[in-house]
């Protein structure tokens, strides 16, 4: 099948949203072309995890697997927030001075361009938003409401979880389920058990974190062997990243064509508003691809960029942007983490990353004085504290024989708790086009502007307080803290093509279809009106089993 024709739909992006959309379209008998800007990874070659030195290897970079992005105003380091500064006992002791610009972290916002998208390096958490999170504005006067409700989505959450064979136990508070989990829950590691015990002494309700990681073999994939390297790439295929779940099933229909290293550079709309064709660069060659239906799923940074890049005489603000909302309402990840050393604890380097979770504060109104809430998680393994380099460069100071002795004695006694909070965007938070920086194809790069508001910093302080209290209860001696105050480091970015019922104030409607273009759907985190204080990867997949093109392809 040639790339230039013969497909019923084109899906742009093969991450959480694009893969789910492609699967659903294929399952409904459509011939689907997926265009993925990044490369295809080979686990055996790219992340085998079977050689020494593994701690130094993050998720690999391959040509084209990182987008060119610039950063505008990210705020300044306010001395009034010095209590939220990052530090570690064994890390570099120098810090940026008060008033300095808040920098992006070393690698900027966390993402992968590639077949599977950022699910390639996610740790597999599968969360549902709290029902009240869909009514944030109605309940608090802050943020926005969704034009849909939890009850609308529950069947599709279930489909997405079953496709990814999510392992879990019970329902998160308030989030009713029509079915149980596909697999039994994973065991808690020693660190999680310590956190859960401390939390329960404080009256908190801690649970096993639902995970798209196999606790038993299924679908031709092996069970997890708990190597703890989910974020560095899963070499076994037990982690339910979408290239081994949605895309694999879609390919089995025989109706999927997936082209990697294919960058879409422009969408074209006809006089009736329908997207008629798109421009792409495939293997260095320009292609013009006609399509009756487009699903755009490039993520909360690249989706608005492509829409803005597609401006023409009839759409001077860009495609799908008659409201002027494309790029606005960007949400970074509000996060905090404290690590302590606990005398008598051992084995905290074992188990799945983020294996235990507390939802108590993860709904609107749960944190007094704040519209949004936050989730608490056990994060020792997620933060990389499962190897000696992390211990020696972050937690255990000193040198010589005493360093080596202390490292052996302390290894496995670190305990990290993290919090992820609800961020409510302001007027400054947006993704636009950089006026100077260009990508490899000569096109303007995306430019991120995101300043933490006073409200966000106040919630961050609540998050830090809750984490510190919990670790104190666990008997931990604090040795490291990191948070959003000191660096922009967003593993989950949202907003920028908001879903809403009012075409003048949103980009897509309740069915995720663009208000301005009847055959353009957006299927990624850009459509989220609010962040919901949880990890949203599952929620990017859920939308796609429910979307109209799967019910009425010709719409």
């Amino acid at each position: 099948m040639g790339i230039s024709g013969g497909h019923d739909a084109v899906v742009i992006g093969s991450g959480a949203g694009g893969a789910a959309a492609a699967w659903r379209l294929c399952a409904h008998g459509l011939r689907v072309l997926v265009l993925e800007a990044g490369p295809a990874f080979d686990p055996a070659r790219d992340y085998p995890q079977d050689r020494p030195g593994w701690e130094l290897r993050g998720f690999p970079e391959r040509p084209g697997s990182r987008a060119v992005v610039s950063y505008g105003d990210l705020g300044q380091l306010d001395p009034a927030d010095a209590d939220l500064g990052s530090w570690s006992r064994a890390g570099f002791p120098w810090r940026l001075p008060a008033g300095a610009p808040r920098p992006p972290s070393g690698r900027g916002y966390s993402h992968v361009l590639g077949v599977g998208g950022s699910t390639l390096h996610f740790v597999g958490e599968q969360h549902r938003l709290h029902p009240d999170a869909f009514r944030l504005f109605s309940l608090t006067g802050k943020g926005a409401d969704w034009p849909i409700a939890y009850d609308d989505l529950e069947p599709y959450y279930t489909i997405a979880e079953e496709m990814q064979l999510v392992a879990g136990a019970g329902a998160a508070p308030g989030r009713w389920r029509s079915r149980g989990f596909a697999q039994s829950a994973h065991p808690l590691g020693p660190g999680a058990r310590a956190v859960v015990a401390a939390g329960r002494r404080l009256g908190q309700d801690w649970q096993v974190n639902p995970r798209a990681t196999l606790s038993a073999p299924d679908a031709g994939r092996p069970a997890c062997n708990y190597c703890g390297q989910c974020a560095r790439g899963c070499p076994l295929g037990d982690k339910g990243s979408v290239e081994v779940t949605f895309l694999r099933v879609a390919a089995a229909t025989g109706r999927l064509d997936l082209v990697s290293d294919a960058t879409v550079t422009r969408l074209h709309a006809g006089p009736d508003g329908r997207i008629t064709h798109l421009d792409a660069i495939v293997d260095g060659q320009g292609e013009s691809i006609e399509t009756p239906l487009v699903v755009l799923a490039a993520g909360a940074v690249q989706t608005p960029r492509l829409l803005l890049l597609s401006a023409d005489a009839d759409h001077p603000q860009g495609i799908a942007n008659s409201s002027g909302e494309v790029g606005r309402n960007f949400m970074e990840t509000l996060s905090w983490q404290t690590t302590g050393l606990v005398a008598g604890l051992s084995g905290s380097h074992l188990g799945l990353p983020d294996d235990a979770i507390c939802w108590d504060m993860a709904a609107p109104g749960r944190v007094p004085g704040h519209a949004g809430g936050f989730v608490l998680k056990h994060t020792t393994v997620e933060t990389g504290l499962n190897g000696p380099i992390a211990y020696a460069t972050r937690l255990v100071a000193g040198f010589g024989a005493s360093l080596k002795t202390a490292l052996r004695a302390r290894f496995g006694s670190a305990l990290s708790v993290g919090a992820v909070g609800q961020l409510i965007p302001d007027e400054q938070a947006r993704v636009g086009l950089d006026p100077g920086l260009r990508d490899a194809h000569g096109l303007p790069a995306a430019r991120i502007e995101s300043v933490l508001t006073a409200e966000s910093r106040a919630l961050l302080r609540e998050m830090a307080g809750a984490v510190r209290t919990l670790l104190a209860e666990a008997g931990a001696e604090p040795v490291e803290e990191t948070g959003s105050r000191d660096a922009f480091a967003a593993p989950h970015v949202l907003g920028t093509a908001r879903m809403g019922g009012d075409a003048g104030r949103s980009v897509v409607g309740p069915d995720a279809r663009a208000h301005d273009h009847p055959n353009l759907w957006i299927a990624d985190a850009s459509i989220f009106p609010t962040s919901g204080a949880v990890n949203r990867r599952a929620s990017r997949s859920w939308r796609w089993p429910s979307a109209p093109p799967m019910r009425s392809p010709a719409t």
Partner: protein, 160 residues
Amino acid sequence: MSRHRVTRRRLLASSLTASLGLLTLPAAAEDAGTDAMASLGAVLDGLLPADALSPSATELGVDDELRTFLAGQEMLTRLISLGLGWMDRIGGRPFRELSPMRQAAILAQMEASDPNHIPGRCYHILRALAVEFYYARAEALGGLPLDPAPQPHGYPPPWG
């Protein structure tokens, strides 16, 4: 996979320039003499000596790896040369010729010093690089409850 190691270490090394306004780096040759790196091995072994469970840094070739890594990184090389030069002077004799006790005292002095001056900054950068090269080697894991690599066996339960 060395590409990834270098990427991470380059990030690490780039922190050299963070808040470096207070720190000026004169040309190394002006201060450090003709063999500025001669004490590098002794310093690395002072940071990570041999013991009953694992070898020293130089026994694992950390000094050679570090020299290779530094090639082409002018500012970092200059900083380390200046730091080593300071270490060779502060004890009255080259660092490598001092007793282990005197070497440890100098390292402790550097650890406690202002990180915005050369001895303090050099200590932290050298220590971080040494630890990264050292504990990336399977031989360094003696006494730790770890396999040389996470796969192929993983760490299945039961856990303690």
